[in-house]
């Protein structure tokens, strides 16, 4: 590593912008893009509604150059640290109107009366712009998926949804951004040509942003105390909600070699840095249970930033994907500067938000055994609200039947204990038995002994126990196609 870089470069709308964090008047490196836009860039169209990625009033769009195309993503700017937009184009609501004319998404929203008090509107406009910029016209379910991360308390959404349907039909129509796409890509590629890590050190914060895996591993070795982040959809809350000072961060979001999908004969390996929205689409045909779980994971803005590695490393007791990974007996590949190993995910979690990871290790991939033909895998999530809600409980099942008998069964519950937990006693009660309603019903009684869940703000223990039992039944009926 030669001289250290302390600056970031990005396009703020169409203007090449540099922030040199070594300058005393610069914002700190964990300044959120939201606060930067409102306070430093004086672009106040973007709004803070919750500062935790739930309401989407702060939605902006980033464009990233990838294989000579621009990939547009909606993101919650309240959870985005400034260095995360290095090498990207950051688009804000002020920039959509062009040559004195509204962008089609703006005009359409007005035509459908989709704005009342106006506070959520800039965020909706940016999410609608994201729909406009999708590679292909979105079907209705995907339109809703694109808008669940934007809350509106005035309209009741019908008008916005109608506007969004119209906008989805505009797909592929050129606008000023497509006209200048080549130029934008070349500017972004120029920025990204330099793969020296960005190492920011201010009076009270260190922010490390490598681009190559080997640099990331070296930095991890040098800074075992750094908080690792990629999307910051969880970490940023410590700053925005608890007003903590985050003193040292290792940001893996730009390590492109962590972002991959590799299908081999018996396994699918998923890079730890792949964003969950991409993973949701990618896994649809191959790992449908995972894909469907991701349908109800956060919002599009969150999934565009959050990663599978981050979800695992946070070791949440709920961690929407974790029960599924455990039921599938996935392996977690971890690397340090001089070694790598694969930890079976069932051995990874050591307690509430604790993992077996060593101080110098980074999760680099998740290895899924490919589902076998006769293997049934399902995951279920229960939450108060279907979308954009943390699980009250979740469960994943992996079942193999041989001649109508249960040959192999994994049942993993989330939200029932301090970590996601295998229901071993239930599994053993069913293994070797015929897969029928009688046995399954008998087995559900074992839930009472296997778990003593908490009553908390999300639900009572009584509900959790009952729902946990019922979900085993639900799985049974779904496997019988009798769920109806």
């Amino acid at each position: 590593m030669s001289k250290t870089r302390q600056n970031i470069l990005f396009l703020l709308n169409n203007r090449l912008t540099e922030i040199d964090f070594s300058k005393p008047e610069s914002p700190g490196p964990t300044t959120t893009v939201l606060n930067y836009l409102r306070t430093h860039a004086r672009l106040k169209g973007v709004k803070e509604g919750c500062a935790e990625g739930d309401c989407g009033a702060c939605t902006v769009v980033t464009a990233t150059a990838s294989e000579n195309k621009l990939v547009y993503q909606t993101v919650d700017s309240c959870l985005l640290f400034l260095p995360m937009i290095h090498g990207k184009q950051l688009l804000t609501v002020e920039h959509l109107a062009h040559d004195g004319r509204l962008h089609p998404v703006q005009q359409t929203l007005i035509d459908h009366h989709g704005s009342q008090c106006g506070y959520c509107t800039p965020g909706f406009v940016m999410s609608l712009f994201g729909i406009y910029k999708e590679p292909s016209a979105l079907p209705i379910e995907e339109i809703k998926q694109s808008l669940t991360g934007n809350l509106c308390r005035c309209t009741g959404y019908r008008s916005i949804l109608d506007a969004a349907k119209t906008i989805a039909d505009f797909n592929g129509k050129p606008d000023q951004f497509s006209v200048s796409e080549t130029n934008t890509i070349s500017q972004l590629n120029k920025i990204m040509a330099d793969s020296q890590p960005i190492l920011i050190e201010t009076a009270d914060q260190v922010y490390l942003k490598p681009f190559l895996l080997q640099d990331a591993l070296k930095l991890r070795n040098l800074h075992p105390d750094a908080l690792i982040t990629s999307g910051a959809t969880d970490l940023a809350l410590r700053q925005t909600k608890k007003h903590e000072k985050l003193t040292k961060i290792l940001d893996l979001s730009a390590v492109s070699s962590l972002n991959y999908w590799l299908e081999e004969e018996n396994t699918i390996t998923i890079g730890a840095g792949i964003d969950l929205e991409t993973l949701r689409k990618r896994s649809r045909p191959h790992l449908p249970a995972l894909s469907r779980m991701l349908d109800v994971f956060g919002s599009k803005q969150i999934r565009n930033k959050a990663t599978l590695g981050g979800n695992i490393a946070s070791a949440s007791p709920i961690g929407d994907t974790l029960p599924l990974l455990m039921a599938c007996e996935a392996g977690v590949k971890v690397q340090s500067a001089d070694a790598e190993r694969v930890i079976p995910i069932n051995e990874l979690f050591k307690g509430y938000r604790k993992t077996d990871l060593k101080a110098d290790e980074i999760i680099t991939a998740v290895i899924f055994p490919k589902p076998l033909a006769q293997q049934l895998i399902r995951a279920y999530k229960i939450s108060k609200r279907d979308q954009m809600d943390i699980s009250t409980l979740s469960v994943a099942f992996s079942l193999r039947l041989v001649d109508g008998l249960v040959d192999k069964l994994n049942i993993v519950y989330g939200g029932m204990a301090a970590t996601a937990q295998k229901a071993t006693s239930l599994e053993s009660a069913l293994i070797g038995k015929p897969w029928n309603e009688e046995h399954v019903k008998q087995a559900t009684a074992g839930i009472n002994d296997a778990f003593s869940p908490l009553s908390d703000v999300r639900a009572s223990a009584e509900f959790r126990i009952q729902a946990a039992k019922n979900l085993l039944l639900r799985f049974f009926y779904d496997t019988q196609n009798e769920g109806q």
Partner: protein, 768 residues
């Protein structure tokens, strides 16, 4: 009557991000940020306040406590029982104790961490149940009675008694409470507020600063949502910012973080209601005794008026000959509960709607038919419990049209078929009505003022007492002004609501914004027209229209002409310029008060409402019997807005209110811990509806051909009434739960009917 279609007047600035909210304003580079330090304890006596270290920190400009308030330490809007800063008693978690002004929010937070507050705990009352047990009434009980309910219940063939609890609700306006206070010369104070009630904000600011109101100007450009949450409680942040601004001599902006806003501010009142209802085998209700108990929180705020509206809506759309309604509001150590769309109406109605549902299940009748059986009538059965006669009853026509358009009866049969076939999915359907009284029940508040300027280029500025919070009031007022003056809407601009333009206004609340301000504007415009007509006649005569007569003049399409000689016309701007040169005043105020309103709280009788707004909804849901999860399949709404002032805006109000009501009835659940700390203090745990929670099939229509005589352009208020249409969803869920046992057993039910509650209710039915 021509209708002018006007889009929301801020639509273009909203979609381009140009709309300015208080938190977007920067008055000067010396502007400070304000922060509230609040009580961490639900009830106690402050024994020590130590902030000397914090005050010495860099970038901290001031820290204020109760002793630094120059005026009255009070901000109660009606009853003066709410200190601006707590001292020495703290009454709830979230009650302001200290105010910090600092250069940046970071500095304010650093300072806050250095402050030491010691509080000696006192016993706290944290549930409505315990407040009732301890009889902690904030005011004597109130009564509305008609007939002899006790005797009639005893004589009724069938009776039920029961208890219904209805939950609280967080407003969740997207823009949290904010204010910017700018000190002027001497003791002048300019406040840019996000308040539904600028005049009251002015009052409270003047009182805490200890200055007369004429030194305080309050301006409201727009609010980022309010829903009642900024009717009184926006005064707080304005008062705090003003105190800091006066103390530092610098502009101070205060914008609450979301979690602080949710923790500190009051919400919809939760109610615990006890009822007895007597009926016959045809479903006719003979008597109803109901006691409505509300959780007021720590101080009075608007709780008594809200309780009163709950009582005035306890019978909803039904004639009940013998009725006894009791209202009690209790004090707890929680943030003072406040106005929220419906203002008690929903809590009052929920009880009777649930009771009727129960009657129908018991009698094995269709609940819609039991409702219809009890609707207010035309000739007979038309007097409300408080003695007002119902005229222009729209219940029957709406019922006929909606049951037909929604195919309600046919779908009920289909649902029965579906439920017979599906063990683990159950569907339910419900039709519910709303009859909502329009007017402030505190009669003198039904007044409004307006100020209209015609400039000599023919453009027009309007100012009125109403605030724009997304509901489209300003757009409607543009329509009213344009219509009254015969000019195109683009010639009219509504200027920010300001206490220095229209004084002594009422809150924009009670759905009354258009009714009251529209009439005031119309009166101002009529005054101006009256002054302009002689000028117009002169101009017409001088251009050859010798016979032009004042009484024949028409103002239309920016022209003025005699209806008998339409070939001669003058342009509006020509008339304005001529009037100016003839030294005619082109500015006028207008004033309106709603006639003949009176409600006697002692007797529980009177005429509290100018008219009623009606609506009905049919909703169908599907439940997952194994998880309690539900989907809203379809909702049909038919709602009465008289002759709509603006159909697109009215439909937006109906849809928005309905979905907000669905949130209250289904997933919005407020939880406190055993210390009175709000657990659901952020959107992480408090779940308002998303785009995914609206009906898959959502059909909203306006009732046609029923103009409302005596109001602005024969329209009706629309803000609140559709909120209560969400009971159709609530009771459709109950219908689906009840299908688990073929509707033979009354299920446990509450509001909100969360998926958790629904599952446990179904499990209990299965095991019964």
């Amino acid at each position: 009557m021509k209708t002018v279609t006007i889009r929301h007047n801020s639509a273009e600035s909203h979609v381009t991000g140009q709309s300015v909210f208080v938190n977007d304003m920067e008055i000067s580079s010396s502007q400070l940020v304000g922060r509230v330090v609040y009580s961490p304890l639900a009830h106690g006596i402050i024994t020590q306040l130590d902030y000397s270290e914090a005050l010495n920190m860099p970038d901290v400009a001031a820290i204020l406590s109760a002793k630094d308030i120059p005026g009255h330490n009070q901000m109660g809007p009606v009853v003066k029982d709410e200190p601006c800063l707590a001292w020495p008693e703290t009454m709830f978690i979230g009650q302001a104790i200290l105010l910090i002004a600092a250069e940046t929010m970071d500095a304010a937070i650093r300072a806050e961490k250095m402050i030491r507050i010691q509080i000696e705990p006192l016993e706290a009352t944290l549930s409505l149940h315990s407040a009732i047990e301890k009889e902690l009434l904030i005011a004597p009980p109130a009564f509305i009675r008609s007939g002899d309910a006790e005797s009639a219940i005893n004589l009724a063939p069938y009776t039920f008694d029961g208890i219904l609890e209805t939950g609280s609700q967080e407003h969740w306006y997207l823009e949290t409470q904010s204010a910017l206070a700018v000190p002027g010369e001497g003791k002048e104070m300019m406040v840019f507020a996000s308040s539904q009630n600028p005049s009251e904000t002015q009052t409270i600011v003047a009182e805490v600063l200890g200055i007369p109101k004429h030194l305080v100007d309050v301006e409201v450009k727009r609010l980022g949502g309010a829903f009642g949450g900024k009717e009184t409680q926006a005064n707080h942040v304005a008062a705090w910012a003003s105190l800091l601004a006066q103390a530092t001599g610098k502009p101070v902006k205060m914008h609450l973080f979301r979690d602080d806003d949710q923790l500190m501010t009051g919400k919809r009142h939760r109610f615990l209601s006890k009822y007895r209802i007597g009926f016959d085998k045809t479903g006719l209700i003979l008597a109803y005794i109901v006691e409505l108990n509300s959780d007021a929180g720590a101080t009075t705020d608007l709780s008594l008026a809200i309780l009163e509206r709950a009582m005035l809506h306890a019978e909803n759309a039904y004639f009940i000959p013998n009725i006894s309604i009791t209202g009690k509001a209790y004090r707890t150590n929680l943030p003072p509960n406040t106005a929220f769309r419906g203002f008690g109406g929903p809590q009052g109605m929920a009880v009777i709607e649930n009771a009727i549902d129960r009657i129908a299940r018991f009698l094995e009748m269709d609940p819609a038919m039991v409702r219809k059986r009890n609707f207010y009538g035309f000739e007979r059965n038309r007097v409300t419990p408080y003695g007002k006669e119902i005229t222009n009853n729209r219940l029957h026509v709406i019922f006929e049209r909606l049951t037909e358009s929604s195919e309600y009866f046919q779908r009920r049969v289909e649902i029965q078929g579906f439920n017979n076939k599906h063990k683990y999915q159950k569907r339910g359907i419900a039709l519910t009505p709303v009859k909502f009284g329009i007017s402030f029940t505190t009669a003198f508040l039904n007044q409004a003022g307006a100020l209209v300027h015609i400039f000599n280029d023919g453009s027009v500025q309007v100012n009125h007492g109403g605030t724009e919070m997304g509901q489209g009031l300003h757009s409607k007022m543009i329509g009213v002004t344009a219509d009254a003056l015969g000019i195109s809407p683009d010639r009219v601009r509504v200027t920010p609501t300001s206490t220095s333009k229209v004084p002594n206004t009422s809150a924009t609340a009670a759905s009354s914004g258009s009714d009251l301000n529209g009439m005031a504007i119309k009166h101002a415009a009529e005054t101006l027209k009256h002054r302009l007509i002689p000028i117009a006649v002169q101009l017409l005569v001088s251009m050859g229209c010798k016979e032009a007569k004042a009484e024949n003049l028409i103002f239309e399409r920016n022209l003025i002409f005699d209806k008998n000689f339409p070939d001669f016309s003058i342009r509006f701007e020509q008339m304005a310029e001529t009037a100016w040169k003839n030294q005619i005043s082109l500015s006028s105020t207008g004033f309106y008060k709603t006639p003949n309103l009176l409600f006697d709280r002692k007797t529980g009788k009177g005429n509290p409402f100018y008219y009623y707004a009606y609506g009905m909804a049919v909703s169908e849901v599907e439940l997952d019997v194994l998880t309690g999860a539900y989907t809203l399949l379809r909702t049909d709404i038919l709602h009465d807005v008289g002759d709509s002032l603006n159909e697109d805006i009215d439909i937006g109000q109906i849809e928005g209110a309905f979905i907000q009501g669905v949130g209250w009835c289904t997933r919005e659940e407020i939880k406190w811990n055993e210390k009175g700390f709000l657990l659901t203090h952020s959107p992480d745990t408090y779940k308002i509806p998303t785009i995914n929670d609206i009906p898959v099939d959502f059909r909203v229509s306006l009732l046609r051909d029923f103009p409302n005589e005596g109001t602005i352009r024969k329209s009706k208020a629309v803000g609140e009434p559709p909120f209560m249409l969400a009971f159709s969803v609530w009771l459709a869920i109950k219908d689906a739960i009840s299908a688990v046992r073929q509707h033979r057993v009354e299920p446990a039910f509450t509001l909100p009917a969360t998926p958790e509650f629904v599952l446990l209710s179904m499990e209990a039915l299965k095991n019964e």
